[in-house]
């Protein structure tokens, strides 16, 4: 069951992105946060071993929605718009395991 539910603006063109190696369908104009959460209920793991996080403020203020781009660069899911073929990781690709504190 996804976390976010599309109620409006549902007839936008489809866009495909890759998340942790899997193909994910989303709509043009979606943020990464929307793309992730209309397909699941998590964005990332907390570095402190207290479970999954799925963003909080949705406006770029809490920084609790970080994901990694293909090149290893970090980005905020809630303020990054998706583009066809975008590849992201929900954990640091150079450091694939989370570290309990």
């Amino acid at each position: 069951m996804p976390q976010f539910v599309r109620l409006k603006e549902k007839s936008r063109p489809r866009v495909t992105i890759t998340v942790d190696g899997a193909t994910v369908e989303a709509l043009e104009g979606d943020t990464l946060l929307t793309a992730l959460l209309t397909n699941g209920r998590r964005v990332r793991e907390s570095e402190f071993g207290d479970g999954a996080r799925a963003g909080f403020c949705v406006i770029g203020a809490c920084q609790d929605c970080w994901v990694w781009m293909d090149g290893g660069e970090r980005t905020r899911a809630c303020t990054t718009y998706i583009a066809e073929g975008m590849t992201i990781f929900t954990h640091n690709p150079e450091w694939p395991w989370t570290t309990p504190a």
């Binding site: 069951m1 976390q3 976010f4 539910v5 599309r6 109620l7 409006k8 603006e9 549902k10 007839s11 936008r12 063109p13 043009e28 104009g29 979606d30 943020t31 929307t34 959460l37 209309t38 209920r41 998590r42 964005v43 907390s46 570095e47 402190f48 207290d50 479970g51 999954a52 996080r53 799925a54 963003g55 909080f56 403020c57 949705v58 406006i59 770029g60 203020a61 809490c62 920084q63 609790d64 660069e73 970090r74 303020t79 718009y81 504190a101």
Partner: protein, 459 residues
């Protein structure tokens, strides 16, 4: 401060920044307007991404006309200002504003800086608030307004702020299932605030309309509740809360949106050396500025980033601060008659906000009763118990919030204390039986948001 070609910078293109830029242009200036968002409009009048189809009426409801006016005004200015969207202002030092866009850092020296940075939700933690499915009220609204999505299938809205009813109503109207609206304030607080709220009849009526509409839509509204915990293993499955004078109740839901009003984005004002004082009415530390926006030499504050006043007050204070700036630059007396008129309107709007603060009080007791193992800082996973221990240590760097920061890392995470600053101060104060105004505040530090490792480009 008379000069031929003064460099005037406005940070923020919300209602305050737009009206400020408009006034500056009217008086012959060409300000630089910086906003980290890709489109203008700020929070309330945030514009949808390209390709979205809803009308302004659907997006902004009662405020559609005002939203259109702000968008039209700003679109009419972009040729005569230096507009830099997608650009973060992340530090101020020695009259230089540091900005970042993509990988490029650009220092901008200024003669006058007008900060119209807006606000974010003010929160108090409760157990389970870091679980997937818990969002701020403002955040849940942005998901709907900006992405057409509800943040859950079955929603509970919780808190103490006019946004509580507004967002719940917007969700219900959009077809979301609203399981409950839980107001932490007792109904009597609202009744007591009525005389002050009547200072702005149209806002008052809109508020009543929203509550009545929720009622009509069959949404359960409860007053005087306290959240106990969000339940769920990997994500929200329900919320436990306490009714006044009764036991605990559990409600099934897969999302909780909560908030207790707003807090200003005042980090840049802090870095620009503005004075801060604890405001007992709004129950938080606010940067000090005169009613006309003057906050220090060459520094002006406007909108919700200075004092929570709402969108109408943001427009008024933006223009007013710009007129003060123009006068200080030596470009003539500004427009005295207009300033007087704006000041009058602003003080009436501020009176209304003080009424709202009474109707939607901050539930400080939630910090006192927060269990020791509850997370307070979601960035560094600091618990309430760790904050309490830090301030109760016998030796340390002063008995205040910065000591808690040094010993527990509270406020040192990547949100820079935006979401734990006030609650950790509240917890520290309660642990020492002191008033919150006496424990100090977390200082703003640059960069105000994380920036990429970047190339520095000199202008």
């Amino acid at each position: 401060m008379a000069m031929d070609d003064p460099r005037v910078v406005v940070v923020g293109a919300g209602p305050a920044g737009v009206r400020a830029a408009e006034a500056l242009v009217k008086h012959g200036l060409r300000p630089l307007v910086i906003d980290e968002a890709p489109l203008s409009g700020g929070q309330i009048y945030r514009r949808p991404p390209p390709g979205f189809r809803r009308t302004t009426k659907e997006l902004y409801g009662f405020e559609a006309a005002k939203a259109e006016a702000i968008h039209r005004t700003f679109d009419g200015l972009t040729d005569v200002i230096d507009y830099r969207p997608r650009t973060l202002a992340w530090n101020v030092q020695d009259r230089v504003l540091y900005t970042a866009c993509d990988d490029v850092v650009t220092p901008v020296s200024f003669d006058a800086l007008l900060l119209a940075t807006g606000a974010t939700d003010r929160v108090l933690p409760f157990p389970g608030w870091t679980l997937p499915g818990v969002y701020t009220l403002g955040g849940s609204q942005v998901a709907l307004k900006h992405q057409g999505c509800a943040v859950g299938r079955r929603m509970v809205f919780l808190g103490s702020t006019p946004l509580l009813y507004l967002v719940a109503y917007q969700y219900a109207r959009a077809g979301a299932e609203v399981a409950a609206v839980l107001d932490t304030a007792p109904f009597s607080a609202k009744v007591r605030a009525v005389p002050k709220l009547l200072s702005n009849t149209s806002m008052f009526v809109k508020g009543l309309y929203t509550m009545a509409a929720l009622h009509r839509l069959g949404v359960a509204i409860e007053h005087g509740v306290r959240p106990v915990a969000v339940e769920g293993d990997d994500a929200v499955a329900g919320l436990r809360y306490r009714r006044r004078g009764e036991g605990e109740v559990r409600i099934d839901c897969d999302a909780v949106a909560f908030g207790f009003g707003l807090r200003p984005e005042s980090q840049l004002a802090d870095l620009a050396d503005c004075d801060f004082r604890f405001d007992p009415v709004f129950h938080q530390w606010l940067p000090q500025c005169a009613d006309d926006g003057r906050a220090g030499e060459g520094i002006y504050l406007a909108g919700d980033g200075a004092r929570i006043g709402g969108a109408d007050a943001a427009e008024v204070s933006g223009e007013l601060a710009a007129l003060s700036l123009i006068e200080d630059l030596g470009g003539g007396p500004g427009d005295k008659a207009r300033s007087v008129e704006l000041s009058r309107r602003l003080s009436s709007l501020v009176r209304f906000q003080a009424g709202l603060a009474g109707a939607f009080p901050w539930p400080a007791d939630m910090a006192r009763s927060l269990p020791d193992n509850a997370i307070v800082c979601r960035c560094e996973r600091v618990t309430a118990g760790e904050v309490r221990q830090a301030v109760q240590r016998p030796l340390g760097g002063g008995c205040e919030i910065n000591r808690a920061k040094a010993f527990s890392r509270i406020g040192m995470g990547r949100c820079q204390g935006r979401f734990c600053g006030l609650s950790s101060a509240e917890i520290s104060a309660a642990a020492q039986d002191r008033d919150i105004s006496s424990v100090g505040r977390l200082r703003g530090a640059g960069p105000v948001k994380p920036i990429k490792l970047a190339t520095v480009l000199d202008e």
